[in-house]
Symmetry: D3
Subunit: 186 residues, 6 copies
């Protein structure tokens, strides 16, 4: 089980409203390579890892990804808070407003609801971990795409930090892969 | 952010393998009225609640639902652990095995991957909370369906406990609804 | 079975073309809290209601929701009728045109095709009706979002009327819920 | 708008419970070539037909398809009414029961929720009507598949009658196609 | 099996970047009536055709549709190649960029990932082929919609050519339908 | 473009009907880690590879995966050819028959229609190729799951051969990854 601690893993403090930037960062909330996708993927896979080391690593990284979901949600919330109808229309967010008002919702940038079809689990630790390594690479690339689109340093800093975590996680999964490879599982 | 605590909210100790029972409990992992659906619904809605009381309640219940996801996963894991190919075939779980081996995966009982289309958020606290009240009622009913299908007391006890939590959460959401109703939001 | 009567439940007479407004009202045709979602939800649930009163109410409201689908379609049709390619591009509706020409289609505002995953049925009258009460609340909130986005009184009047119907239906479902609660079903 | 008339278009009177037969007839409730798919397809397309003849025909057939949805639901209801947990398990319907109890739900035979992705509308009367002609052919074929699987005459008679209606509708759409072809639309 | 031949079935040589035009042509890559939908539909159906003539025709047209997928991808690639972030934003393609960078992806114009729910197969040659005839009509109509939206002759010429192929394929499927009709299958 | 060559990449000659085995092999036709998923993934990604080597490799492997789709379809076809209604019922394939007759269809083992959500493309060659490496690992694992379920050597031999190709492709993608890593792209 989890205990909630009322603080963000990395501070978010965006002072300039920018609903259009929110509409692209959205993909890291509920898109294919999102933090939500990562969290659920790792927390799902842990039950079938062959040793405690694997179970623990997946639990730890999965738990951290939940904190990243929270960071992304906070960014989305700050980027849109207090926006007027006119600002939302100008940012092309009237579609979002019509359906959700000012609520958040886990979709990709196009508005596709999050689906577990974005991730996998095939019952083989090496294959599952190779999916995780790929997931971290893809999330890193998406953060780079977002940084290309961003102009505000308050937005760029957390994106850079999140990108960095993807690289760290990739390394950790690589080590676990090497560990299981040596054990000659299957 | 969250801290992981290595214990279950309620103990699961299923001694008798029963893959077919796993194949129906699965709906509470990744189905429409699942614990995962509940967790993501509440953790998503909290950003737009009008006061701290609402934000806190949604965070608390959302966090507890994550613990329920973990309980359900543990049940699925214990019900299938060590099953032979023949046992899986007899339980109609060869489809599951072909695609996921012995891994878990968040689908409903029919194998539909979890989708965020199962829940909503419309930007109105009263409407959002009424969705939550309905969600708790529906989850309660699904637990009753599962209890009808179960025969092992080790399975029934945690299902009864989870059903009970749905009723408690329903009451808590009802109180929040009454609180916001009085504030005459919108 | 149903008899078609060639008139709208409430008159629609929009004189000013506004494809962009159509692109948001669309969510009430094929979105999560749409009239279509409501109609199918109620007409589906009626088969398992425990008495004639429940069956009749769900049939009546379900049938009225079909009339609301027709009203929404008429609004969409009038808001786009005769639009030029340039007007459609200016309204961001070239995507719609590329795929459907001037035809309608039941999607949400983002273009997600309608799915039955938006509604539920769990085999328990109290839970099913609580879903219906929530659905009416959510549809009410979506109409309020749309009214916020609308500027033409010819559009606002039917939206206000439809919003009003949601409140009436909520009350009717509330009474049915109280009735079944007293019967102590399950 | 529509008026509900409390009678079926064709009588359904199934005296022998058969949950497994229900689990395949289900595809005509919420599957790709289902009555629901047909009803929504025609009622959607009518707004952009080029003359009154087309609009009227689509409205009439769309309305009749709603009556067919009702017939299918009645069959599903009679085939499962009063089934015990053991009968449901024997028929492989414990998955259905876990998630929906004894409620109906518009899915295909595999449990995929109905989606509007099953039908189309491209803004061209000839193309739209050719889709309708194909839809009627496909529904006819599905009824033939179901009749192959059925053994009870109370089930076979309504399936035969519904199959017959598909052939009649195909002819009506063919005549409309010929009519529009002569008008040299586009 | 297939051999790749490094040339396009029809030359594509678009000299003027136009990301917005790409965002609508996209529907013919991964949308409901796309070339991908056509290719998979025909290559899937061929296994159950009652004679060699049917199997061969479906294989041939299915293989040609793969070449059309390649033409569409080449158009998308040329229309976006080298676009700056500013050009992408102006074209409303920042959503696409956030998630895919400059990669292609098979979605419809709205960003819905391609799904096999767009096509059918019911086990009856006449019904399957009537679906194919409808598919060709619908694809023709979508090309006409796209031509309405296009302004550059380098874009229009391949669209006109692809539209022409739909008409030819429709005729070929019509002849196969007549052939099977005479054989009185089923 | 592609030329069809009327032979399988590896011979399939299954003499013993086994519809239930077909119902699990199905996942390699239209499931998450299917041959279809692989073919579309690679043929999609090739447009944005930074050099001819990458484009050529993705085209070659993508084309080979199309041949694997054909092998899988041939297996499915031979495993079910001529099955009686009773055999299909005994194998739990009456659901399949109700909806598709004896036609094939690209779904996973559970009947979920194939979706492009199963694969990705993020605009970064290293990330895209890491996804491909993971895909090959996952497909290998699924073939191992299927071999665990298979009992007929006519089925096992092609599965073993296909499994082998996944390992070869993994190596080829690994070399391309190393090549791009050295170029220090991004």
């Amino acid at each position: 089980m989890w205990r909630y601690e009322k603080r963000l893993e990395f501070p978010i403090n965006i002072k300039k409203r920018d609903p259009r930037m929110a509409s692209v960062i959205l993909t890291q909330y509920g898109g294919p390579d999102s933090e939500l996708s990562a969290a659920l993927r790792y927390l799902n896979q842990r039950y079938n890892m062959p040793d405690e080391r694997g179970k623990a690593l997946l639990t730890d990284i999965g738990t951290e990804e939940l904190a990243h979901v929270e960071m992304i949600c906070t960014m989305l919330s700050q980027l849109t808070k207090g926006a007027t109808i006119e600002e939302l229309k100008a940012a092309g967010m009237d579609k979002q407003y019509s359906q959700r008002g000012m609520d958040l919702f886990p979709t990709d940038s196009f508005g596709n609801p999050f689906t577990a079809a974005y991730f996998g689990a095939v019952g083989d630790p090496l294959a599952d971990i190779s999916e995780n390594m790929a997931a971290e690479q893809k999330a890193r690339a998406v953060y780079e795409n977002l940084i290309d689109l961003a102009t505000d340093d308050d937005v760029i800093q957390p994106l850079l930090w999140l990108r960095e975590r993807e690289i760290v996680h990739f390394q950790m999964f690589k080590q676990l892969w090497d560990h299981y490879k040596k054990l000659d599982l299957k």
